[in-house]
């Protein structure tokens, strides 16, 4: 059975939302894309689409209406990781979910590590939190490298999966911010982080993130200028 209509509520700046856009790109799915201005959200958004008032959100099924006029008949879904799995379920040919249950579990465990060891430290670092030192940030990098397989292209093997989709928007924004020197960290912390990454022990990690940034579904959904405008 063909999937029903998909309307994605998203924002170019938001790394969580980009996860969903990457998944849709990998699936080659057709969908309606509606940009939400996070600094000035439409008053219909929370009551009609997502009570938490965040992006991303998907309105699935129901009649073919304009995104600004969501129908009560469509199913409203939220939370970026749940939406990525949803797209993987709707479009098995997207190949973003491994077929082997053990590999799936590895992908989900990788996502847990990103969520607990990398993302919080990334946020602390760029917001100038005193706990957000380059050492702490590098420990997040270590945690990811520790579970990267040897000799494989991506997080759980040669297949580009939900694990990679979960991580790349965050890495890309951190990478962009430190390259441009944008963020509340000191210049010394920034230089120490970049220098730390040059250590040969991070060869595996550096190879991995290079491949991530080269992925077409990432490139087509990453908007550099907008990402810079995010504080």
């Amino acid at each position: 059975m063909a999937p029903e209509q998909i309307t994605l509520y998203t924002a170019k700046v938001c790394p969580y939302a980009q996860r969903t856009e990457i998944a849709l790109a990998e699936a080659g799915a057709s969908f309606k894309r509606y940009e939400i201005d996070l600094t000035n959200k439409p008053e219909w958004y929370a009551p009609k689409v997502n009570r938490a008032s965040k992006v991303p959100a998907i309105a699935y099924g129901g009649p073919d209406v304009a995104p600004e006029n969501p129908s009560p008949e469509s199913t409203k879904l939220a939370e970026s990781l749940i939406l990525v799995e949803f797209i993987g379920d709707l479009y098995p040919s997207s190949n973003i979910l491994p077929t082997d249950p053990v590999l799936r579990a590895k992908a989900r465990f990788f996502i847990e590590i990103v969520s607990t060891k990398f993302s919080p430290n990334f946020m602390k670092f760029v917001s100038g939190n005193s706990e957000g030192t380059h050492t702490v940030l590098l420990s997040g990098v270590d945690a990811i490298q520790d579970i990267l397989p040897d000799g494989a292209k991506y997080a759980v093997g040669d297949q580009f999966t939900i694990a990679d989709i979960a991580f790349v928007p965050f890495w890309a924004r951190l990478n962009l911010l430190v390259q441009k020197g944008i963020g509340a960290y000191t210049d010394e912390e920034r230089k120490n982080f970049l220098k730390g990454l040059e250590d040969p022990k991070y060869t595996k990690f550096n190879g991995y993130v290079q491949r991530l940034l080269a992925r077409e579904s990432f490139k087509s959904t990453f908007h550099e200028v907008r990402s810079l405008l995010c504080r």
């Binding site: 939220a78 939370e79 749940i82 053990v102 579990a105 989900r108």
Partner: protein, 230 residues
């Protein structure tokens, strides 16, 4: 293992029971981990962890050929993948998303807000809002959290419901005196009828009664929550 972690183990045992899946359980003393556990099973040293596949060995002699899966929610999804016809996860993508959203809400509102309340770090009003959020996700007229079958959503929340019941019946917790009973009174009201009935159904399931040791949990709570906020 400590009671704290037993909660996470129970989620998995519930799912295994409902899927009729055979398994061997092995208790690990976290304060005195066997060497083989850290080196062969889980380098992070956490429980619960599941080993899958490989030769049929004794649990204390794990084979390098088995896969090691950690993190209770990852394990729940893994079991649903292993037993696709068990109903642990529905086949329909929208229902699967709803199951996952329920689990996500359980983590945020029960493992987050409600747990913080018991630890003395969250307001009574916020706990009521949290439980209301969960209640609103419960389908009307269904025995289960999502759909027509027991899913990993039910397995995820059930151990918490048992502990919530203990808190409301014994008043044990670091919140100010009486707040546990007050929470119980609120949950007895009409407003929370849907949640209350759902909890009763979950706690009444034979699979649940088999693994839950009420006295052990109460004993643990008495030892753990000794710092009541004034």
């Amino acid at each position: 293992m400590s009671e704290q972690l037993t909660l996470y183990l129970h989620k998995i045992q519930l799912a295994l029971a409902e899927a009729n899946a055979p398994y061997k359980a092995y208790q690990v003393d976290l304060r005195n981990k066997p060497e083989w556990f850290t080196s062969k099973v889980n380098p992070v040293g956490q429980v619960p962890v599941l080993t899958y596949g490989g030769p049929n060995v004794n649990p204390d002699d794990p084979s390098s050929l088995s896969a090691k899966i950690a993190e209770s929610n990852v394990i729940l999804e893994f079991l649903a993948d292993l037993y696709p016809d068990s109903g642990l996860l529905p086949k329909d993508p929208v229902l699967r998303a709803k199951v996952r959203f329920f689990i996500d809400a359980t983590i945020k509102h029960i493992e987050g807000t409600y747990l913080a309340f018991v630890q003395g770090n969250e307001s009574f009003d916020n706990v009521l809002k949290a439980i209301e959020f969960i209640q609103e996700l419960l389908e009307e007229g269904s025995d289960f959290a999502v759909g027509e079958h027991y899913t990993i959503a039910d397995a995820c929340i059930s151990p918490h419901l048992a502990r919530l019941k203990i808190v409301t019946e014994t008043g044990i917790g670091n919140f100010p005196a009486g707040m546990g009973y007050k929470l119980g009174e609120e949950l007895e009201g009409l407003k929370f009828a849907k949640f209350r009935k759902y909890a009763q159904r979950m706690l009444g399931r034979p699979g649940f009664k088999q693994i839950h040791d009420e006295e052990a949990v109460i004993g643990y709570f008495k030892r753990r929550f000794t710092n009541r906020i004034q």
